[in-house]
């Protein structure tokens, strides 16, 4: 059964959402490590959009992958508390 193609939202529109969405993704990852489909299900957004925002966060060290992918091929991601890490680094 094929599905009719519907154009995903443009990258520019997704980019404009990132500053709002990254806090929501961070909140979800603060609870536990999760895959992109799991984050998408919790937040109610398409997986391709979560992918864009999550890797925007990863670029700046806000999230990181954990270990190897699961049997379905998905990595889990964890939230990195950059402020806490920076504070710890300063203390050391």
């Amino acid at each position: 059964m094929n599905t009719a193609p519907t154009a995903p939202r443009s990258m520019l529109e997704l980019a404009q959402d990132e500053m709002i969405m990254k806090d929501r993704i961070a909140a979800v990852l603060r609870e536990k490590h999760r895959t992109i489909p799991e984050i998408a299900e919790i937040l109610g957004y398409p997986t391709n959009e979560i992918t864009v925002w999550l890797f925007g966060m990863r670029r700046y060290g806000e999230v990181e992958e954990v270990g190897r992918p699961d049997v379905d091929g998905y990595f889990k991601y964890e939230w990195k508390d950059k402020k806490a890490e920076e504070a710890a680094a300063e203390e050391n």
């Binding site: 094929n2 980019a15 925007g56 992958e65 379905d72 990595f75």
Partner: protein
């Protein structure tokens, strides 16, 4: 160094710093020629530096290209100008060329920038990352890519956001909106302080011209900028009842007197005190604030907010002397002040000039508002009040009278509602609260008994021809007199400057003090005047802007610096149509409604009827901002840059040179696979093009592994589809791209290396492995297990499980249509000619071939020579080619350039 006999600035200019440009420039530099290498991008390296590896050797692209980049950038004979556009090239009679360039501003001091990336991390605006072919986002402040040469930051700015451009104080609305969207409220407040210190007052009572010019009005309705400001100012003041700062460390001995503690005076004091000057404000009233305290009703601006805003000023050490009327600036100078700023405002009231105006019960609106605010207004409970006038200053007393329990409140205006100068929302608010509009009516006289008002005799009016203001002139209807019983009449027919005393010693015109409109300096160099006493009554934010301007020039005057400098330089306002066009398919974002007090409650209280947004509402509303200027000017990059290298005052710079010869090496364009609709590139995230796949495979990839863009899964079954838009008459591109087969083979091998368990299939028409080592490379991939299917792919569809179904014509077996399932599809796409060269050469016609590439006159014996003597072409600008052929052609073009230069000089 070769002898330059024709006195050119450079022997040769090379346009485009990809592989061909760098090779040509290096070859010529090594020969001793002085080379100008120009590229419009912020880094040299072209497209090749973004590749994963190169075929057939599978050498790392960075390892191949970065030495060439470094060699070009550091070559003693090569001047590299990145982020520079060529505006035009013309050939001179002596065989040299005149070139016009403009260097785009990156808003970064390139020499000081260390490429640390801090600006990028703190930037609050996100855009698609073109260096990763839009697979991920990047920030507006950015370093193009990790191997960029030079590795310097760039800030994207396409203009001034309309909200900033239209604000009289240039408050960076898009900046603080962006900060609120990112959840940085304290930073938003501090950003506001940079342009206006009275944040709370503006958040509650600014008429917000920014909202009228908001681009979002072209889609739904304005972003509620003032509501967002109200949120972060209240949030900040709740957390900080007192300012976090004190007087600046570097205190100066210079003394400045400011006359008037309204918005202009307070603003000037704030910025002067920040510069270290000793500032004293003289205020005639018993409390500071001017119009803010006495002229704006508490339901819009409570005095506690005025007080807290004033603390922002006094915390810097500013002294405010209340109950001290000053009417001579010269006297203040005599008392030892080095400079004086006169900002007495405009609170004197105009009179109607009709009979009975002196009666008890007839008063000006400012007097009424002042007495109301300090609690000494006449008791009007149950009485009838008439407010004469149709401007915003009529709405305030009318709406105040409702709250004071008046039984009936009438606004009497001589024109129709369409001509009322008050804002529509003010008029609607007044009507909602029960104010009656008595239009086309004017008072003829006030009728009293025993010196006390009892009624107003009014005349009906009709509209005649338009007057100088463009509004239709009101004409009296003779014999239309009517008497209306009125207990209190409030005249709101305009205000005039409060300049008593000053007009005797300063230039003035029609009651307004005159000062230089740019510097606000008066005839006496030490005396400045600004705000409403110079401009006539305007908005608070206008007076604040005047105050900051005055502070800027007073500071320069006191330091003995020239005043012949620009106060602040804004970019051109962003073209809203461009912003609306790029967002035309975006989802609608309806406004967050500003919560307000219920009407019945509102009528009974002077409490603010506009409620503050919740944090969630404020961020949601901020999210509606369209980033008109690209950079929002949140200034986080400026505030956090450890090298202090970001400067928003930098501007594009035009440059002209004479060069002995020109080499065009602007490369090629990549066909948009979206033009092949049946392949659904635009619809399915897991249908990517070759350039995107190279980024997924590169060590500096945007993801943590080779993942599919739709959901971050490691693909297990990848399809490469060759010849999309090349050798394709349906889109008028009959040429072979010459690299598609080999880069697909390269990517297939790399994918198998990265994902050992993945199946890889290449769909081809015929494989062209013509270069040195190419056929062996092809055979190697087959030996690794890459499946080659001879078949033309017709369309790609998506299955319910998220995978792609590839439909192809079987060209090898029994024929007919077949289909196969894959979880990632890569389209190798055709090249298109880069036609920039035809546009840039303005000295006549530069010949192209039938495919619109630059034509080589004699490719066999004189490679790189074009139809314009002295103008050469190198690399893919003359036709698609791989990297080895590009390097070879660039070397040949360099030889041709050398021969030309030697010929023209001897």
């Amino acid at each position: 160094m070769k002898t330059n006999k024709t006195k050119t600035d450079y022997d040769v200019m090379v346009v485009g710093a990809g592989v061909a440009g760098m090779e040509t420039a290096s070859s010529l530099g090594n020969m001793g020629y002085k080379v100008l290498l120009v590229d419009k991008k912020p880094s040299i390296g072209g497209r090749a530096i973004l590749l994963s590896k190169v075929f057939p050797t599978l050498d790392c692209a960075s390892c191949i290209v970065t030495p060439k980049m470094a060699a070009s950038a550091h070559h003693p004979n090569i001047d590299v100008k990145i982020y520079t556009e060529v505006d035009g090239i013309t050939r001179n009679a002596d065989g040299s060329f005149s070139v016009d360039l403009h260097q785009k501003s990156a808003y970064v001091d390139i020499d000081a920038c260390t490429g640390c990336g801090t600006c990028e991390e703190v930037c609050t605006v996100t855009v698609p990352d073109e260096y990763n072919y839009n697979l991920v986002t990047r920030r507006v402040a950015h370093i193009p890519f990790p191997q960029a040469v030079p590795k310097k930051a760039v800030i994207d700015r396409r203009g001034e956001a309309p909200c900033i451009h239209t604000c009289p104080a240039s408050v960076k609305a898009s900046g603080y909106i962006s900060l609120v969207r990112a959840g940085r409220y304290k930073e938003a407040f501090n950003l506001h302080l940079e342009n206006a210190p009275l944040v709370g007052c503006l958040a509650r009572s600014c008429y917000a011209p920014c909202e009228e010019d908001c681009t979002r009005c072209g889609k739904e309705e304005t972003v509620h900028i003032r509501g967002i400001k109200r949120f972060f100012s209240d949030h900040y003041y709740d957390e900080h009842p007192e300012p976090e700062y004190g007087p600046v460390e570097n205190q100066l001995a210079t003394k400045v007197a400011i006359v008037g503690s309204g918005p202009a005076g307070l603003s000037a004091a704030f910025y002067l005190a920040r510069k270290g000057h000793q500032v004293t404000i003289f205020e005639a009233e018993i409390q500071p604030g001017g119009m803010l305290r006495t002229g704006i009703p508490a339901y819009r601006l409570p005095n506690e907010v005025v007080d807290r805003d004033i603390k922002n000023v006094t915390a810097l050490g500013v002294q405010i002397k209340c109950n001290t009327r000053v009417e001579s600036a010269a006297k203040l100078k005599e008392e030892g002040f080095d400079a004086v700023f006169v900002a007495t405002g405009a609170s004197d009231e105009n009179r109607l000039g009709v009979e009975g105006e002196e009666l008890e019960g007839v008063m000006g609106c400012m007097k009424f508002l002042r007495e109301t605010k300090i609690g000494i207004a006449p008791n009007i409970r149950g009485k009838t009040v008439m407010v004469v006038g149709g401007g915003n200053s009529a709405m305030d007393p009318a709406r105040s009278a409702i709250r004071m329990g008046a039984q009936r409140v009438i606004i009497c205006y001589r024109r129709s509602q369409d001509e009322m100068p008050a804002h529509d929302w003010e008029i609607q608010g007044a009507i909602e609260e029960g104010v009656e509009l008595m239009l086309l009516t004017t008072p003829k006289r006030f009728i009293g008994n025993n010196g006390k008002l009892e009624g107003v005799e009014c005349l009906k009016m009709k509209l005649g021809e338009p007057d100088a203001s463009g509004r239709r002139r009101p004409v009296i209807v003779e014999g239309s007199e009517t008497v209306i019983p009125i207990d209190l009449a409030i005249l709101a027919i305009g205000l005039k400057p409060s300049t008593t005393g000053f007009v005797d010693e300063m230039d003035h015109e029609r009651g307004l003090l005159t000062s230089d409109p740019e510097t606000l300096q008066t005839r006496d160099p030490a005396i400045f005047a600004g705000g409403d006493c110079v401009t006539n009554p305007t908005m608070i934010v206008n007076a604040i802007g005047q105050g900051r301007r005055a502070a800027f020039y007073i500071d320069r005057h006191l330091k003995g610096e020239s005043l012949d400098v620009e106060f602040e330089s804004l970019l051109e306002k962003t073209d809203k149509d461009v912003v609306l066009e790029e967002s035309k398919n975006f989802r609608s974002r309806p406004p967050v409604l500003q919560p307000t007090m219920p009407l019945e409650e509102r009528r009974r209280t002077f409490e603010c009827y506009e409620r503050v947004m919740s944090e969630e509402e404020a961020r949601k509303e901020a999210h509606r901002c369209m980033n008109c200027g690209e950079c929002s000017q949140c200034m986080e990059c400026v505030n956090n840059c450890p090298a202090f290298c970001i400067d928003f005052n930098l501007r594009d710079a035009a440059k002209s040179f004479t060069v002995g010869s020109v080499v065009m090496s602007t490369g090629f364009e990549i066909l948009d696979p979206g033009s092949k609709k049946a392949l659904n590139y635009a619809n399915f995230p897991d249908v990517v093009d070759g350039a995107q796949m190279d980024r997924l495979l590169a060590p500096t990839r945007p993801y943590n592994s080779v993942l599919r863009p739709s959901d971050g899964k490691e693909p297990e079954n990848i399809a490469f589809v060759l010849c999309n838009g090349s050798r394709d008459h349906t889109i008028c591109n009959p040429l072979c791209c010459r690299i598609g087969c080999m880069y697909a083979v390269k990517q297939a091998q790399l994918a198998m290396g990265a994902l050992p368990l993945a199946d890889v299939t290449i769909y081809y028409i015929d494989v062209r492995a013509f270069g040195k080592g190419y056929d062996e490379f092809y055979e190697q991939s087959k030996a690794m297990g890459v499946a080659f299917t001879k078949g033309k792919v017709a369309r790609i569809e998506k299955l319910d499980n998220g995978n792609m179904e590839v439909y192809y014509e079987d060209m090898e077996g029994v024929g007919g249509m077949k289909k196969a399932e894959h979880d990632l599809v890569v389209l190798t796409v055709g090249f298109l000619p880069n036609t920039d060269a035809f546009r840039l050469y303005k000295g006549g016609e530069l010949a192209g071939n039938e495919f619109n590439y630059v034509r080589e006159i004699d490719p066999i014996s004189e490679p790189g020579r074009t139809s314009v003597d002295g103008l050469f072409a190198a690399g893919a600008i003359i036709g698609a080619r791989d990297i080895p052929d590009t390097v070879l052609h660039a070397g040949a073009a360099a030889s041709q350039v050398s021969a030309y230069l030697e010929t023209t000089r001897n």
